[in-house]
Amino acid sequence: MVSTKAQKSIFYRLHIDPWLLLGIFCLMGLSLITLYSVSPDWVMPQLIRLAIAITAMLVMAQIPPEVYQRWTPAVFIVGVLLLIAVSVFGHTGKGAQRWLDLGFTKFQPSEIMKLIMPFAVAYYISQHTLPVRLKNAVIALLIVLVPTLLIAKQPDLGTSILVASSGIFVLFLSGISWLYISIAIGAVLAFVPILWFYLMHDYQRTRVMTLFNPEADPLGAGYHIIQSKIAIGSGGVWGKGWLQGTQSQLEFLPERHTDFIFSVYSEEFGFVGILLLLTIYLFIIGRGLWIANQAQDAFTKLVAGSIILTFFVYIFVNIGMVSGLLPVVGVPLALISYGGTSIVTLLAGFGVLMSFNTHKRFNRK
C-alpha cells in the first residue's frame, strides 16, 4: 500500500478497505448503467438495494474476527435448522421451495448459508493444525454436504453449487493433500449419474441438454442461450453502444436485468467492455487473496480465501452460462445483476474481509 499514514488511519478506523471499496463502486456503476439500458425503471430499486448492501458490508466490517469465530457453530446450526424449516413449511415459487415467509418479508435461508458455510468449515478445520488430515477432512465434507443437499432438494442448483464450493474451497486452502483431491474429483464424477437421474428436475435436465446443443430446440429450451450468444457475438469489438443493443432493446433476451445482464452488457459494450469488467473483477479477487494472506490466523485466512473464491465462482458460472460454456443454472452476475439478496450476501462477505484486514493490526499493536 502506497497511501499515506493519515489516509490509512481514517479507513482503518472505519474498518474499510479502500481498494476493495473502489472495485465495488466501479462494478456498481457498471451495474446501474447497464440496468438503465435494460429499463430505467430498474435503476432506483437497485440503488436502494445497493445502499442496504453497503450498510450490511459496513456493519459486518465492524465486527471483530473473534466474534465471528465465537458465533460460528451457533449460527451454522440455526442455518441448517432454517433450511430444514424451508423444506417443511417453505413457500413455493417457480417449481422450487426456497422461501420462508416470515409474515413481513420473505426470506431465503440458502442465501445466508452461502455466507455461513466457509465459517463453519474453517471453524472446524482451524481447531487442528494445517495441513488438514483425512479424518478431519471427511468430517468437514459432511458439514458441507448436509446444507448442500438440503438446498439442492429445494431445488436450487445454482445456490447449492455456490454453497458446496465455498465449503470445499476452505478444505482446499487448508492444504488437503493432492491425492485426496484427486480421489474426491473421482468421487464427484461418480456422483454425476446419481445427480442426473435422481436429484435433477426435468427442467434442469433440459437445460443441461440444450447446453450441449442449443440449436436443436431454437424456439424452446435453447432459445435463451441462442439469443444470449447472438447478443454477445453481435456486440463485436466495440459493442453496439449504450442503449443500442437490439437484442436487449427489442426484448429478444430473457431475464435481461438478472441472470442475462452480461449479454446486455456485452452487446452494448463489446469485447473491450468485457475486458474492462473482467479486469475490475480480477483486481477485486487479487486484493481479496492478498487480504486472505495477510490474515493473522488459520480461521480468518480460510474464511477470507473462501469468500473471495466463491465470488469468483459467481462470475465464472454466470459468464460461462450466458456465453454457452456451462448450463443455465440461475446464478446472477456478481454485483452487476439486479437483485437484493445476492448483493447483500456478497457485500456482507466483503465486509467480513474488511473486518479481518483492519482488526488484526489493532491486535498486533
Partner: protein, 628 residues
C-alpha cells in the same frame, strides 16, 4: 485443550502452506478467466459477422405489402367495383392485463356478443400469445370512433384497417363483373403454374368470375416490400426501407350504368337475358342475366347454406344466361337464312310461294305447321321476314340443305365462341351431319333440316352469339368481336379487342344484304311487320326480328295454348334489333324465358332500351363531346 494445540502451531509453516494454495488458486482463476475470454473472443471477434447477421435477422423482417386492386368504372366513370376500408378489432393477449375484465367492458361499449367472445377465445387457444387475434370483424365507423377515444384503457387492443372489395350496385352487375373471393388451393396451384407466386404474396383475394377474373392480370398489380425492425413479439418498431406496391390498373368498361339498370328493371322477375352492344365498336353497353345474386356475399365468404340455395335454385341464378344460356334461336335467324337462300340461288328477291299454313316434306306425309294456322297466302322473302312466315323457310331450308346451312351460320358465329372478354362462355350447338352422328349416333334426316330452318330443332345459340350475328347483319358481313373493357384508366386511348381471324362474309351480290335488312326494317315499320306496334312513333329507325321459341316439342297437330301449359314450358320470347336502320349504332338481343310471343313481349323491351339510348344516353354523350 484447544488452546494447547494452538500454542504448538507452526504459524509460519501454516502461512506458507496457505500462500502456496492461494497461488495455485490464483493461477487457476487466471486460467479460468482465460477460458472465458477466449470463448468470448471466439463469439465476438471470430464469429462476429455470423452473429451480427443473426441479430439482424432477428430484428429485421421483410414484409410484403399487397397492392391495392384496380377499380372498375362504367363508361361514364361511375364506380362499379371499389375497395372499402373495413375495420377489425384485434388483441395481442400477451400485452394485456385483466383480459376478461376488458372484454366485459367491450361488451357494454361495442355490444360484443357472447358468440364473438367465445370464438375469440377459441381462436386464441390456437394462436401464439404475441400474435394479434381477431375479436370483432367489420366495425362500423361509430364503433371505431368509440373505441379510439377509449384506446388508452385497452392496452394490447388495436384496430386494423383493411381494404375489402365492394360492389355498390350488388346484383345488377354480377354477371358482368363477377367477383373476387379468398384464394383457395386451386387458385394457388394455378398461380404457381404461372410462376406468379411472388406477385400474390400477401394477397388473400383473387378474381373468381367475370371481368374480375378475366382482367385479373391488369387489376391485381404488383406487391411492394417493407423492411421493418420488429421486437421479439413481432411488433413493428420502425420501418427501415419501403418499396411501395404498384397498384392494379383501374379499368373502364363499355357498360353504361343507366342502360344496365334499365335493362335489369325491364326484366323484373322474368328469367332471361338482355345484351346491348355498339355495332360500330363491339363495345357491350349492357349485359344482363336474370336472376342474379349479390356478389358481395362471395367477397365476405358465403355460407354453405346460402351457396347451396343459389346452386340448387330452380332459376339457376349462378348461370350467366348471356353467355352460357343455350336457347333455340327461333325466327330471329330468318334474315340470315334468307341471305343464304338468296346466295345459294334457292330463291330470288321475287320468288313467291303459297302458304296454306303448313308444309310437307316432299315424298312424305310429315306436316310442318306455320305459326299462323290459316297461312300467310302468297309470300316473297320480304313478306316472309316481316311476318315471320315459317312455311317460306321450311321450303327454303329444305332446298338449301344442312350441309350449306352449317358452314354459313358458323361464319355468323353460331356454334363458335364470340370472344367476349368474359371467361364463362359456351359454344351452344350449330348442328351438322357429323355433329348428329357423334352426339346421337344417328343419321341426319330432312326433317331435322326443316326444324333448323326456323331456328328450332337441334340448333341452340347464346344471347351473345345472337347479338354478334345481328351486328354482323347490320355491318353487312363484317364481323366484330364483342367486348366489355373500354380502356385502362391513365393509359390513354381506347382498348382494342384482339382482331378476329374470321374474314368478312362475302355474298354473290351485295344487294342481298339490302333485301334482308330492308325486310328487318319492315318488321318494325311496315304495318304487317310483327314488331310494328311496339315501334310506332320512334324518333329513330329500327331493324329487328322477333322470335318465339318452343321450349318443348309438341305433337304435330297440337295447338299451342299458353293458358294450358305449365309456366316453365311456355315459349321463350325473343327479339333482336339494331338502330338506326340506315347507319347502325346499337344492336340488342332480348330473351325472356317462358314469356310467350317474341313480338308481343320482347319488342316492347327493345323499344324501351332504344328509347333510353337515343333519348337520354346519346344526347348526353353528344353534350359531353361538345363540352370535351
Amino acid at each position: 485443550m484447544a488452546r494447547k494445540r494452538i500454542n504448538i502451531r507452526n504459524h509460519s509453516a501454516e502461512s506458507a502452506l496457505f500462500m502456496r494454495r492461494t497461488l495455485v488458486v490464483f493461477i487457476a482463476i487466471i486460467i479460468a478467466i482465460g477460458v472465458l475470454i477466449s470463448n468470448l473472443y471466439y463469439l465476438q471477434i471470430n464469429s462476429f459477422e455470423s452473429f451480427q447477421t443473426r441479430s439482424n435477422d432477428n430484428r429485421i423482417n421483410v414484409q410484403t405489402v399487397p397492392p391495392n386492386r384496380g377499380l372498375i368504372y362504367d363508361r361514364n366513370g361511375i364506380i362499379l367495383a371499389e375497395n372499402r376500408p373495413v375495420y377489425s378489432l384485434q388483441v395481442v393477449v400477451r400485452k394485456t392485463k385483466n383480459l376478461t375484465e376488458k372484454i366485459d367492458n367491450l361488451r357494454d361499449m361495442l355490444g360484443l356478443t357472447d358468440k364473438e367472445v367465445e370464438s375469440f377465445y377459441s381462436r386464441n387457444r390456437y394462436s401464439r400469445s404475441f400474435k394479434p387475434v381477431l375479436l370483432r370483424d367489420q366495425l362500423s365507423e361509430k364503433e371505431v370512433a368509440l373505441f379510439t377515444v377509449n384506446q388508452h384503457l385497452f392496452k394490447g387492443f388495436s384496430i386494423q384497417a383493411n381494404l375489402k372489395r365492394y360492389y355498390p350496385f350488388g346484383e345488377a352487375f354480377t354477371h358482368v363483373l363477377g367477383y373476387i373471393a379468398k384464394i383457395n388451393s386451386n387458385d394457388i396451384k394455378r398461380i404457381d403454374e404461372r410462376g406468379e407466386t411472388a406477385r400474390y404474396r400477401g394477397t388473400h383475394y383473387i378474381g373468381k368470375l367475370g371481368i374480375e377474373k378475366y382482367y385479373e392480370e391488369l387489376l391485381h398489380g404488383k406487391p411492394g416490400q417493407r423492411q421493418v425492425e420488429v421486437d421479439s413479439w413481432g411488433k413493428v418498431i420502425r420501418v427501415l426501407n419501403f418499396t411501395p406496391p404498384i397498384p392494379g390498373k383501374d379499368i373502364k368498361l363499355n357498360i353504361d350504368i343507366q342502360l344496365q339498370l334499365k335493362a335489369q328493371n325491364l326484366l323484373g322477375d322474368t328469367r332471361g337475358s338482355i345484351i346491348v352492344m355498339d355495332t360500330r365498336t363491339g363495345g357491350v353497353l349492357s349485359l344482363v342475366s336474370n336472376p342474379s345474386y349479390d356478389p358481395n356475399l362471395f367477397v365476405q365468404g358465403i355460407s354453405s347454406k346460402k351457396y347451396n340455395e343459389l346452386l340448387n335454385s330452380k332459376d339457376r341464378p349462378l348461370i350467366n344466361r348471356a353467355t352460357q344460356g343455350r336457347y333455340p334461336p327461333a325466327s330471329t335467324i330468318k334474315p340470315q337464312m334468307a341471305l343464304l337462300a338468296l346466295d345459294t340461288n334457292v330463291i330470288t328477291e321475287h320468288t313467291k310461294i303459297k302458304d296454306p299454313g303448313w308444309w310437307i316434306v316432299p315424298g312424305s306425309k310429315r306436316r310442318f305447321r306455320d305459326w299462323k294456322r290459316w297461312g300467310h297466302g302468297e309470300v316473297d322473302v320480304n313478306h316472309a321476314i316481316e311476318q315471320s312466315c315459317d312455311t317460306f323457310f321450311y321450303d327454303a331450308s329444305y332446298k338449301i340443305g344442312i350441309d350449306r346451312i352449317n358452314p354459313f351460320m358458323e361464319k355468323f358465329g353460331f356454334g363458335q365462341y364470340s370472344g367476349l372478354d368474359l371467361g364463362e362462355e359456351t359454344k351452344a350447338i350449330m348442328p351438322s351431319r357429323e355433329w348428329k352422328r357423334e352426339r346421337y349416333n344417328a343419321p341426319w334426316y330432312d326433317g331435322d333440316t326443316i326444324s333448323v330452318g326456323i331456328g328450332q330443332g337441334y340448333w341452340t345459340v347464346t344471347p351473345i352469339q345472337l347479338t354478334q350475328a345481328t351486328a354482323t347483319l347490320a355491318r353487312r358481313g363484317e364481323i366484330i368481336t364483342p367486348h366489355i373493357l373500354h380502356s385502362i384508366v391513365g393509359d390513354g386511348g381506347e382498348f382494342t379487342p384482339p382482331v378476329q381471324a374470321s374474314q368478312p362474309i362475302k355474298l354473290k351480290d351485295e344487294h342481298y344484304w339490302d333485301i334482308a335488312l330492308k325486310a328487318m326494317y319492315g318488321v318494325t315499320s311496315n304495318t304487317r311487320g310483327t314488331g310494328h306496334r311496339a315501334f310506332a312513333n320512334t324518333s329513330y329507325t329500327v331493324a329487328g326480328k322477333s322470335g318465339t321459341a318452343q321450349v318443348i316439342n309438341m305433337a304435330e297437330d297440337e295447338e299451342y295454348d299458353a293458358e294450358n301449359i305449365s309456366e316453365r314450358h311456355r315459349d321463350n320470347a325473343m327479339f333482336v334489333a339494331f338502330a338506326p336502320y340506315e347507319s347502325p349504332e346499337i344492336v340488342t338481343t332480348v330473351i325472356l324465358e317462358n314469356a310467350g310471343g317474341g313480338s308481343s313481349n320482347g319488342a316492347p323491351i327493345v323499344r324501351a332500351l332504344f328509347d333510353e339510348y337515343f333519348d337520354h344516353i346519346k344526347t348526353k354523350d353528344k353534350l359531353d363531346e361538345i363540352d370535351g
